[in-house]
Amino acid sequence: MGVIWLIAKDEWRYWARTKLALVVIIIGLVLTVASVVVNSIQMSHAKHERDHLQQSADKQFLEQPDRHPHRMVHYGHYVFRTPSPLSIVDPGVDAYTGTAIFLEGHQQNSAMFADQRQSSGLTRFSSLSPAFLLQILMPLLIIMVGYGAITREKEQGTIAILITQGVGEYKLLIGKFLALLTLGSMLLLPLLFASIYAIFVGESALLSGIFVLSYLLYVAIWSALVVWVSSITAKGQSSFAISIGLWIAFSILIPRVASSTAATMMPSAGKLESDFAVLDELRKLGDGHIAIDPAFAQLQANLLTQYNAESIDELPINFRGAVAEYSENQLTEVLNQFAETRMHEELSQAKIARLFGWLSPTLSIRSASMALAGTHLETHHRFLREAEALRFEFVQSLNRVHREKLSYEADINRYKDKSTAQNARVDSSNWQVLSAFEFKSQKPQQRLVQSFLYFLQLLFCLGFAFCLIGLTARRLLK
């Protein structure tokens, strides 16, 4: 063990002498600190803005005057997705998904106002997020410092001396690896502080710890890869070129290839197209605005027997309200079925893309990081599902108010004159049916489970890199 530390220390001493590592660490730290700070400010600004919009939307709904209940169904409600605490490190898909949904009766709207539509378009490849810097740029810095770790010893001829003096090949390689690992870990300091901050604003401590750990694994993978490349090459320039080649492939190429492959393998129809299929299904169900639609004959017959009435005027409930409730129920079932199919499709696409994580540590840390931070596709889907649950709940509550609290007679005469219109209203206290919407990302346990596979991918990459080192250690001098 002592020898390994000695070698690591010696590597640090070399970096300090050439000032190389110092420059790299300073550049890396300045960039990550800047990005953590700016990104935290932006995300907390977004959080406040969306919280504020949510509160004012809630307030506006509750403050609506006395009305016909169905008018409130169409008045609708807005929900906004608030970002998760760890999104200050990894905003994930946040910028690419809409963050607001309009909820109303009879339809499921898509999320609106994705940030990317509001950006300058300069950040399609790069982004300010600490996640981008750590996932894409940090390996580059490790390469710039570490490419010569072994080749330098070879070029100077010191490697033979080291080994003949009894420093084992493994110890030499592990020592160099440790030096790079400690260097990379220093670049993770801003991430560590950001994660601690996230714990203070409500993130689970265990999860934040694992979040940092996954990045540490990532640093380890790159440190091992760089040492390995340096050990199989004779010259510094080839070690550098090969490492950069690996970096291009892992960090830039494979993620995009994964995305394009997923889109090509599983083309998805898009919402607009599936909307036609939805419409087809819905037409069969009948229009809930028109109570006399033959589609509701069965409902009418059932209600008449249930209440032992001769005609719908005699029913103790408002038949139009009953129809609205009944048809919303059926319609939602169809809508949900299609929405689930679509989300399932999107998730399958994403999962195809994430499979490429077995080939690229960058993609696996990306998936793991987003899953842990609660900024991946599943979180967005969760938002859509929760919004839909809220929509269904308040629309049906309003329909029940319509059924129970507004007489059928007053209802059908609502357009006759001003006084009948006044009668076809219910008290605004009924709008209290709306429950407050507060979006939280999945529970920590759930996110841990979801990130498990990507964690495995990271471990696999690390194991693979170590195997490579092990295999070449024996032939180091040849």
């Binding site: 378009g121 580059l140 090509t264």
Partner: protein
């Protein structure tokens, strides 16, 4: 002067360089993959549009056949609007995955509809598409750096430099022919798949040529930069790795740091209303109208359409003309916000275009997107086209509603058709 003899000698030498062959093969594969997915994407988008157009027509015919008055016809019928992909967009998919290019609209308040998106899978969009423009603007510089940074310095490091200087007399006698051959090969493997894609889709010559030239221009820029850095570094006995590190630093500055920093500054300096405010304003205006005295709706409506001032009397508490009038008023009330929202997008794009002059990678990407009509301006032009069409719809139905025209199905055959923007100027 570069002699044919030098070229011959250097190509013989280069033909034996395995790393060179490997890099060129990788570039060829990448370029082919980018073109393949691009062509595929264009085909998918065109097929999607064909299916949508057909379904849309059938759906509307079906809906209209069940209507008995113009108000319901306007209320229930949707119209597909779209911006078909230009064929050349296979090379630069640009912003089409973020900005919508297809919408179904109806005659209700447009501000409530136009921000709906039928966006692609956000996680795939986040990972990014691998198109030709991305290859050229982001990856190509790195490959060029790897190919060319050590032409001179590797000879020195191998200890052959002095020998070569003796035999080749002047340094540029071997450096320049060698670089020339490598650049030509790289250009060839980059462009060949692109030409194939252009031929397969039958894109028009001008835009294909321009995109090809931009790609080559960007390649030459990085080649010269790399050769210059190589020459400069070699004279000072820098190692190849050090030269490449410096070049990658420049790449980092131009491709990552400059765009990200300017994006942050642009975001701070251009204030924009939150999109949520627009739709909230529109919704309040539309919903308040139900409870407001009808006169107030008419007053606001007649500001835009004074010609109907004589036709605003109502027989019942609900009439379609009043309903559509307050939809129009909803749009009017949100118009100022909507305009500011849109202007902020235009201004951000404008600043981005200024910044891109400092960064060749950004510049080449933006130029390609411009030619492919996949940039922000193209997305906004499509939005304008949707607005224009929506106005046409209103102006078709208003006379029918306000004049109490007797309903005939034949009149409905004259509903204006959406026509996509004609880009072949």
């Amino acid at each position: 002067m570069m002699m044919l003899r030098d070229l011959k000698r250097e190509s013989k030498f280069l033909a034996k360089q395995k790393p060179l062959w490997a890099l060129l093969a990788i570039l060829l594969m990448l370029s082919s993959f980018a073109v393949y997915t691009g062509v595929n994407e264009i085909r998918q988008q065109s097929q999607t549009l064909e299916r949508l157009l057909q379904k849309d027509r059938l759906d509307r015919e079906d809906v209209l056949s069940q209507q008995t008055d113009f108000g319901s016809a306007a209320y229930y019928s949707f119209h597909l609007t779209y911006a078909p992909p230009q064929k050349i967009a296979f090379a630069a998919m640009g912003q089409r995955d973020v900005f919508p290019w297809k919408h179904r609209v109806r005659m209700l308040a447009l501000e409530g509809q136009i921000y709906e998106t039928d966006a692609d899978n956000p996680e795939l969009t986040f990972l990014g598409k691998f198109d030709f423009a991305f290859l050229v603007s982001v990856l190509l510089p790195l490959l060029i750096i790897l190919l060319l940074h050590n032409i001179a310095s590797s000879e020195r490091e191998m200890g052959r430099f002095d020998l070569l200087l003796v035999t080749a007399k002047k340094q540029r006698n071997f450096v320049i022919p060698r670089a020339f051959i490598i650049i030509c090969c790289a250009a060839l493997v980059l462009i060949l798949p692109f030409i194939t894609g252009a031929l397969v889709l039958g894109t028009d010559l001008t835009s294909s040529l321009t995109i090809g030239l931009i790609a080559l221009g960007h390649l030459v820029f990085w080649a010269f930069l790399t050769l210059f850095a190589g020459h400069y570094g070699n004279k000072r006995f820098f190692s190849s790795a050090r030269i490449a590190s410096g070049l990658i630093g420049i790449w980092l500055l131009l491709t990552v740091i400059l765009p990200v920093a300017s994006d942050t500054i642009i975001k701070q300096s251009v204030t924009s209303p939150n999109g949520g405010e627009i739709v909230l304003t529109q919704r309040e205006a539309v919903n308040d109208a139900w409870d407001l005295p009808v006169e107030s709706t008419w007053r606001d409506f007649l500001v835009s359409y004074p010609q109907w001032s004589g036709s605003t009397n109502m027989q019942s508490l609900f009439e379609w003309k009043w309903y559509f009038a307050f939809q129009q008023v909803g749009d009017q009330k949100a118009a100022a916000l909507s305009k500011r929202y849109r202007n902020s997008i235009v201004r951000k794009d404008h600043y981005a275009s200024l910044v891109s002059w400092l960064s060749p990678p950004m510049l080449s990407q933006r130029l390609m997107e411009k030619i492919a009509h996949t940039n922000v301006s193209a997305a906004l032009a499509y939005e304008d086209n949707v607005r224009k069409y929506h106005t046409q719809l209103r102006e078709f139905y208003y006379p029918l509603l306000f004049n109490d025209t007797t309903f005939t199905e034949k009149t409905l055959t004259q509903v204006p058709e959406f026509s996509p923007l004609d880009i072949q100027d």
